[in-house]
Amino acid sequence: MIGVLEFPGSNCDYDVLRALQDVVKTEARMVFFKNQDLSDLDGLVVPGGFSYGDHLRAGAIAAKMEVMDKVKVLAAQSKPVLGICNGFQILCESGLLPGALTRNTSMKFICKWVKLEVQNSTSAFTNLYKKGEIVNMPIAHGEGRYFCDDNTLKELKKNNQIAFAYNGENPNGSVENIAGVCNREGNVLGLMPHPERSSEKLLGGEDGRRIFEAMVNHIKSKK
């Protein structure tokens, strides 16, 4: 069972639920942020949106909610935790992933399809891609410019934690074109592009689906 964590202001929650249930055909349920028991979950997705209206900083308030302690427990149990867009921001704000996401250099919200280079093909989410493969997914964010200090960047590279990098155009000014990073263990991934919007051909492409499929495979292999 995969959970989709819903904060006030999450808006890609049902899109992720649909991708899991109807496209990848796996068991999934919504997890409202208040008073929840996560012990039945084999994995969790923190979806995109504007949790708490992006007040203060994108993801900053959600990251302080009690439920995030339980998410940290899941991650520590080596269960896969995926953060998409605002979910990525929340995972960074809560310390589950290194770095931070700041305003796009254009200072504008950007919604478009971009090319991504797969740099890590071994994590729980990216092992169905080939290293160096170029895939298409859409972005939709105002604060997606990934930033970290030089030491962190060195660590990220050394540990193969840069999962996806923008290929060609860098849409938001991210350092080293970074679009997604994972933790050292490879069971926590955050990315700005939306795999749930690129899981069906009808919606413009299906490159994103393999992230969910890899997640499901990973869960099965653990059982």
Binding site: P8, N11, F32, G53, C111
Partner: protein, 704 residues
């Protein structure tokens, strides 16, 4: 002699109010009448003419008269659809004005028990090439739409924008929202059962947006920006998002009897109209309303247009069930009154009656028969086009025709994972079921409408229909937003009246019902009216395996021009509804049986611009020869005339298309083939790359 009350009503209306009430209204009652009898709330100038529209049809589940319409989509789903303007607020405070425009129409759709699933916007902006203020308004209107729409998780899947100096001080922001509702669970804006609880839900009432509707019912003036700022509402998209999520949950229960958004006219309008619609009255305790700040005056509470508020009529005994869901989402709520038998609208404060009026007096404002004076036809000056190639490039660069990417890339157009045909095509498609989608197409050439409001309005609908057809959709319903000048001026009123007649005639001919709409008058600033803009949106339906797009997909296909090109350059082109219908029906069949690989409706910039846009999508050029088409008219007319009733299609089955055209009695002609890296028109050609660059950067270059 009784003192004249401090209201914007006319002397006649003031007398009428006294007569209807049978006594002198008190200050609060006057303030409420001022709001409810404003043009914005009671459509006193327009109502008579809106009756011309065809409003019934087998697919109409909820027609005009509620906050938005509901159209039958299939055996399970209804589509709630509404359209609204937020012009004056956007002229004063572009970010807040545009944002609250989205918020309002989204709540209208939500109030029908529907989950809002998509928006499109029609914008009319000033001359951004020369006017700094227009540029500022443009950038910030787009920002307002983006900030709000993105946050509430409703994709903006399409729209259109025009630029003209008549909109310099008075831009137009028209928004369409659609929502998905179980067709057996539509909620009405009505309170038909006495004893039900009136629950005010959402943001705390504050001092913003006071007198919003009376401000919207006056011309803008030089001092408006300072004086009218308090009339503009403040947006809070996060609160709106919580309203949406909690209401979607509440509507799954059976606790709700009726629902209405607090929009223009705020509390006064929502409470009086909802009980009036149910043939009932209201007893309200104003002290129960949750307020943003202490010491608010009673009239401020009553007139406030604080956003993100809803009026729920909850069945007696079910209040707790509703409140539990609202508490889950941390949405504020208050039981402020009860629905009562009879026709009295009563407000109490400290247990004393402070307002006591017949409900119908508030909800049924006066009706006017405004004078209309025709504007003499302008003499048409045909533009002199010396260099066809240069002219084409200048058109592609013109903000009216250039790529609108700069706008729509700021909008999240894919959230909810439904958007099948995205912005940048003739129409937009959003998935409703696994097999079928809803289509939105819009139209209105405000320049044509300025030259001929009657023909321009017909053309607006014809274009909106073509935009739906071009992506494969079958039209189901119309919504409109009629943006005009000061109705008290006979010439401006004539523009409105004659446009309404044109739109009504066209809707009847197409046999598509008008299910909802909005009229925005007083779009003038410093005495100058805008180009009249009857903006029309058509909702359609398409099978998801039969959608169509405009881009040329393969080399070596035949290009066919469908419909008749007339020498109408510089004019308001004439619409022949009969031939328009024939062309539309044929196109729908051709797309349905997969005879064509690309289809595009011709409008702004005619064939010259239309063909170029088809080439830009996948960087495949074409080689056509315009010398053979529409013989006897000048080349410039062939390329740039904006004649209605035309499409360009790309096909591998030219014979089949031509045979169909003959059968339908429609003009069709093979004009060339696809392929190459040039746009070749016959008399001249231009490199695809160069032309595309002009088109792609046209708008952006004016902003940066």
């Amino acid at each position: 002699m009784i003192k004249r009350p401090n209201v914007s009503l006319s002397d006649g209306e003031i007398e009428l109010a006294r007569k209807r009430l049978g006594r002198e209204p008190n200050d609060i009652e006057w303030a409420m009448l001022d709001v409810m009898w404003s043009e914005h709330c009671c459509y006193k100038s327009s109502r008579k003419w809106l009756k011309l529209f065809p409003v019934d049809g087998k697919n109409v589940l909820l027609g005009v008269g509620d906050d938005c319409g509901v159209v039958k989509f299939d055996d399970r789903w209804g589509i709630a659809i509404g359209m609204e303007s937020h012009n004056h607020p956007s002229a004063i405070e572009p970010v807040a004005g545009a944002a609250t425009g989205i918020g309002g129409i989204v709540r209208d759709v939500l109030s029908k028990g529907a989950k809002p699933i998509a928006c499109i916007d029609s914008l009319r902006l000033g001359d951004i090439k020369h006017d700094e203020r227009s540029k500022y308004l443009f950038e910030n209107i787009v920002k307002g739409i983006a900030d709000y729409g993105n946050t509430i998780g409703i994709p903006t899947i399409g729209g259109e924008a025009e630029f003209d100096k008549s909109f310099n001080k008075n831009p137009l922001v028209n928004v369409v929202c659609i929502g998905l509702v179980d067709k057996d669970r539509i909620v009405h804006g009505s309170a038909p059962v006495a004893g039900d609880t009136m629950m005010l839900v959402g943001s705390k009432t504050g001092r913003d947006g006071i007198h919003g509707v009376t401000f919207a019912s006056e011309e803008l003036s030089g001092s408006s920006e300072e004086a009218s700022r308090p009339a503009v509402q403040i947006e809070d998209p996060f609160s709106e998002k919580l309203l949406i999520d909690s209401f979607v949950e509440i509507f799954q229960t059976d606790a709700v009897r009726g629902c209405k958004d607090l929009g223009g006219g705020g509390f006064t309008c929502a409470t009086s109209e909802i009980v009036h619609k149910g043939g009932k009255g209201a007893l309200i305790d104003i002290d129960k309303i949750h307020l943003r700040e202490p010491n608010m005056e009673l009239w401020e509470i009553i007139l406030s247009e604080t956003q993100e508020r809803m009026m729920l009529i909850v069945k007696k005994g079910c209040e707790g069930e509703v409140e539990k869901i609202l508490d889950k989402w941390d949405v504020p709520h208050a039981r402020i009154g009860v629905v009562t038998e009879g026709d009295r609208y009563i407000i109490k404060h400290n247990d004393k009656v402070i307002v006591n009026m017949p409900t119908h007096m508030l909800a049924e404002g006066p009706l006017f028969d405004r004078k209309a004076e025709p504007i003499p036809k302008r003499v048409i000056v045909k533009p002199k086009i010396k260099d066809l190639k240069k002219h084409l490039i200048s058109l592609l660069k013109d903000p009216n025709m250039a790529s609108k990417k700069w706008i729509y890339e700021q909008y999240d157009n894919e959230v909810q994972a439904r958007t099948v045909i995205k912005p940048g095509q003739d129409g937009s498609v959003t998935r409703i079921t696994d097999k079928e989608g809803a289509v939105l197409g819009t139209g209105c050439n405000s320049h044509h409408c300025a030259l001929d409001p009657y023909g321009g309005a017909k053309g607006a609908l014809a274009e909106a229909v073509r935009n739906v057809i071009a992506v494969g959709g079958e039209p189901l319903a119309i919504v409109d937003c009629l943006n005009f000048g000061n109705p008290e001026k006979p010439r401006a009123f004539w523009q409105f009246k004659t446009a309404a007649e044109g739109l009504a005639e066209a809707a009847k001919a197409f046999e598509i019902p008008v299910v909802s709409g909005n009229v925005s008058f007083y779009n003038e600033s410093e005495g100058k009216p805008i180009n009249p803009s009857p903006i029309v949106t058509v909702l359609g339906k398409v099978a998801l395996d039969r959608t169509m797009t405009m881009g040329i997909k393969d080399e070596g296909d035949d290009i066919i021009l469908i419909g008749e090109t007339k020498p109408e350059l510089g004019e308001s082109p004439k619409v022949s509804l009969e031939s328009e219908k024939k062309v539309d029906w044929m196109m729908l069949r051709l797309i349905e049986n997969q005879s064509v690989g690309a289809a595009h409706d011709l409008s702004k910039g005619g064939l010259g611009v239309g063909l170029a846009l088809m080439a830009f999508k996948r960087d495949i050029g074409f080689d056509v020869d315009i010398s053979k088409m529409a013989e006897g008219i000048p080349e410039a007319e062939k390329l740039f005339s904006e004649s209605h009733g035309r499409f360009v299609v790309v096909t591998k089955y030219a014979k089949g298309v031509l045979d169909a055209a003959e059968k339908y009695g429609v003009k069709a002609q093979v004009i060339g083939k696809t392929g190459g890296d040039k746009l070749s028109y016959g008399p001249f050609s231009v490199s695809l790359k160069e032309a595309k660059k002009a088109w792609e950067n046209g708008l952006e270059d004016l902003i940066i």
